[in-house]
């Protein structure tokens, strides 16, 4: 276990989480106006209609795959009688398929962004950096999946990466386990951490406000002129006299 290992797998993850959390809070408090998808569908929709669902739905499957692979211990799947071989095959098929959809989707979107004049003109430097890291993360992830397929059962990440990932959350990082994972896994994890550190400062934040509440709220929203987020709550100690109102949230 070298110093580099400790830095990469023992320190960096916490730095990433700290940046992700504080960055998101900062963005929410300071720049809620900038919290948007910044959609460019108004300019071009033909390619977007193919690329965007391909990318987003692919990504959702990829996320579910990560959750299963990282959070569910191997002993559990063994317990329900799923053999390592069977698990590997389904993870590989589903992962590769979803990964390819995501990559194809993002490729279409980037091609569209570069070739459609108004969309390219609306692309910021922030967007470009985000795209580089995002594509790197997807490619690295796909490479690890495919390497696993090419080499048969070369490396079982559920005995190295997954225990390390889970151990992060009990503040006992299993650096030893992670240091034994392959280079491809190391690379994918590092790029992934870079993506999460970048997340709060890019347009990716829109994912944090996925509008699931829409399924449950009444159709027509009424809001009073006062209250709501447009006016400030009085500062502590500045509540008006004779005010029985509680400070607005």
């Amino acid at each position: 276990m070298s110093t580099l290992d400790i830095l990469l797998w023992g320190v960096l993850p916490y730095v990433t989480i700290a940046v992700l959390v504080t960055g998101t809070i900062w963005r929410w408090r300071y720049d809620r106006f900038g919290w948007t998808t910044r959609s460019s569908e108004l300019h071009e929709s033909r390619l977007l209609r193919i690329g965007s669902p391909l990318f987003h739905f692919g990504l959702l499957v990829v996320i579910v795959g990560h959750v299963i692979g990282l959070l569910i211990p191997k002993s559990w799947t063994d317990g329900v009688g799923l053999s390592q071989q069977a698990y590997h095959v389904q993870a590989l098929l589903l992962g590769a398929l979803a990964g390819f959809c995501t990559l194809a989707g993002v490729a279409i979107l980037i091609y569209r962004r570069r070739t459609t004049g108004p969309v390219f003109a609306a692309t910021t430097r922030n967007d470009k950096l985000m795209y580089v890291v995002l594509v790197a993360a997807i490619v690295a992830g796909l490479v690890t999946t495919l390497l696993g397929a090419a080499g048969g059962e070369e490396h079982n990440y559920r005995l190295s990466v997954s225990p390390w990932f889970r151990s992060l959350f009990v503040l006992q990082p299993d650096i030893e386990a992670m240091s034994h994972a392959g280079t491809a896994f190391h690379l994918h994890t590092l790029v992934g951490m870079a993506l999460f550190a970048l997340w709060p400062f890019t347009r990716l934040v829109h994912a944090f406000t996925a509008p699931l509440g829409y399924l449950f709220r009444p159709y027509i929203v009424y809001r009073s002129r006062t209250g709501g987020s447009a006016t400030r709550a009085p500062r502590r100690g500045w509540e008006p006299t004779n005010s029985t109102r509680r400070p607005r949230q």
């Binding site: 108004l42 009073s224 008006p240």
Partner: protein, 583 residues
């Protein structure tokens, strides 16, 4: 009964001359920014025509508004909640920018900087989106005044529908053509489908006055509202990635001023006032089975402000006395419900729109006179309604879901008013039978004439201020001033300079601007940051110094040659306004 107050507008189309002043002043006040170049919260369309955006009325294509499903309940035409979330990554029915128009500017610099040559320099159009030169092929008023009507007119969705019934109804040959203007703003509907479409809940209907707004801090740019609105009056700011829409000029309405479009209307055709309506029955009224009943159902929602029961219910809901008083004097209630001459736009979208229109009575008198009849005789006028140049069927498709009866009634009332008032003007005995023929009394006709023809500012705009309604919360104003740096520091100065940080509430900005103006000796000095003139507060008096940027200072040694010597300057110093250039 749950009484709510709603700001409403009536436009008298007979008076609209299509000057677009409302559109221009609205744009100056609200959408003269980058990102909304193509946006007109207020636009004036020539009918028949395709409108803006192109063919927005064709809901088979754009899927706006509500439909009644088989179980008799309302559902969004573009699909329910699940469908919305499933198509959120690429909205299948979002208009493209070209359905509005690609905004452009001209390469004006070319006119002054072009090198001397044989040809006149030309300012070519270039796109405001990509910066590339473009060919202008469409814009918000491309078919204004029937321009290109033989080509564009048949694409009007209403013309298409009428022609399915009979080829004869709408003609575009010069002798048989007709047209009128239709100014449009957001309808501030009672049952707004844009609000229902917003996944993040950023759009809302204000409980006090029914104005529909977008919370810019909660909008996430999912674009569903643009699809949801059948009038296509919610727009996407492609720069900020947020939805924007007509605000009914709420900062003005709150202090009792009419909207900018109404204030500047040359024909004085707009009326603003309050409706009281029963919020509990809105869904029921919007889901009546027969589309032709929608107009009546909508009228039924409007409550009589003189009815003691309504007043008691309104007081229970906390509506202030001055608001009830304004509701009693409301010109829009009188025109829509009492005289029944104002009709809603496209009630078949089932959104219960609250901007109403008095349909235009075509130039009928002259036509009748030409044919040797007394053009102002009531009998002749009534007979002529169905032979008017603007087909009643066309107006019915716009205002009553295709039912010609209410339109005919309105036009007859307008015709009866002319005929009845002729006797009044000529001091002849009044013929009460004219009024009773259209179900009114003579006194009512005179009152309606007063409101339509000579009503002054304070009769056309009866707008209660926001303040009495919330007097108990006035201390909010005090709280809002204790921002960092204290009062006076409001005008746009966050930690990283102007426009950084969170925007100041409009009420605070308005308060400061008005106070500065009332307490200072002179007009604002444009040199001080934040002292620009806010058009929303400008009362139209004088020409404040800050209204226009200071004139460009020309260094004394480079005074341009006189008007007689046009070529001299461009030949000698092509672009030498900058002394540092060292030529």
């Amino acid at each position: 009964m749950r009484v709510m107050a709603q700001m409403g507008m009536v436009m008298n189309l007979d008076k609209c001359i299509g000057c677009h002043t409302c559109s221009v002043t609205c744009k100056q006040a609200w959408t003269n920014r980058s990102g909304v170049e193509y946006v007109w919260f207020n636009n004036v369309e020539t009918r028949p025509g395709q409108g803006y955006p192109r063919r927005y009325q064709d809901q088979e294509r754009w899927k706006g508004g509500w439909v009644r499903n088989r179980r008799g309940r309302l559902q969004l035409k573009a699909g329910g909640r699940w469908r919305k979330l499933m198509t959120i990554f690429a909205n299948p029915v979002l208009p493209n920018i070209r359905d509005y128009y690609e905004p452009w500017t001209y390469d004006y610099e070319m006119l002054t900087d072009a090198p001397l040559g044989d040809d006149f320099p030309v300012a070519r159009p270039k796109s405001l989106l990509s910066g590339e030169p473009i060919d202008i092929e469409w814009s918000a008023n491309w078919d204004d005044d029937l321009g290109g009507a033989p080509e564009h007119g048949p694409l009007d969705p209403i013309v298409e529908r009428l022609r399915k019934e009979s080829e004869e109804k709408v003609k575009f040959t010069f002798e048989q053509a007709f047209m009128f203007y239709l100014p449009r703003i957001c309808e501030h509907c009672l049952n707004p489908s844009c609000v229902a479409s917003c996944p993040s809940g950023a759009m809302y209907k204000r409980a006090e006055d029914g104005i529909v707004l977008v919370d810019q801090d909660r909008c996430r740019g999912w674009r569903m509202c643009v699809t949801g609105c059948p009038y296509k009056k919610v727009y996407f700011n492609h720069r900020t990635g947020k939805a924007e829409k007509c605000t009914f000029c709420y900062p003005r309405i709150e202090v009792g001023l009419p909207t900018v479009c109404a204030e500047t209307c040359v024909g004085r055709l707009r009326y603003i006032g309050l409706f009281l309506y029963d919020a509990d029955r809105v869904s029921e009224a919007a889901s009546v089975a027969d589309e032709h009943d929608l107009y009546e159902a909508q009228l039924d929602l409007l409550l009589d402000p003189d009815d003691p029961e309504v007043l008691a219910a309104a007081r229970r809901e906390g509506i202030a006395e001055d608001w009830l008083d304004a509701a009693r004097r409301s010109p829009v209630y009188r025109l829509a419900k009492q005289y029944r001459v104002a009709l809603p736009l496209h009630p078949e979208f089932r959104t219960m729109p609250m901007v109403w229109y008095i349909p235009p009575l075509s130039p009928v008198v002259d036509r009748l006179t030409e044919t040797g009849h007394d053009g102002e005789d009531a009998g002749n006028l009534f007979g002529a309604i169905d032979a008017l140049r603007i087909p009643v069927e066309y107006l019915a498709e716009l205002f009553t879901a295709g039912d010609p009866a209410p339109v005919r009634t309105v036009l007859q009332r307008l015709a009866a008013m002319r005929s009845y008032m002729r006797d009044v003007t000529l001091d002849r005995p009044r013929d009460e039978s004219i009024a009773t023929a259209v179900g009114m009394t003579g006194a009512e006709v005179v009152e309606m004439y007063r409101l339509l023809a000579i009503a002054k500012y304070d009769e056309r705009y009866v707008i209660p201020t926001a303040y009495e309604g919330e007097a108990h919360q006035l201390e909010e104003l005090g709280c809002s001033l204790d921002v960092d740096g204290g009062p006076g520091m409001v005008a746009g100065s966050g930690p990283f300079g102007e426009a950084s940080g969170r925007p100041a509430p409009v009420s605070v900005e308005t308060f400061h601007a008005l106070r500065d103006r009332q307490t200072s000796e002179s007009f604002a000095d444009p040199g001080t940051p934040g002292a620009r003139i806010n058009l929303l507060n400008w009362d139209g008096k004088g020409r404040p110094t800050g209204l226009f940027p200071p004139p460009h200072e020309v260094p004394p040694h480079e005074v341009p040659p006189g008007p007689g010597d046009i070529t001299g300057r461009s030949a000698a110093t092509p672009s030498s306004t900058d002394p540092e250039e060292g030529r």
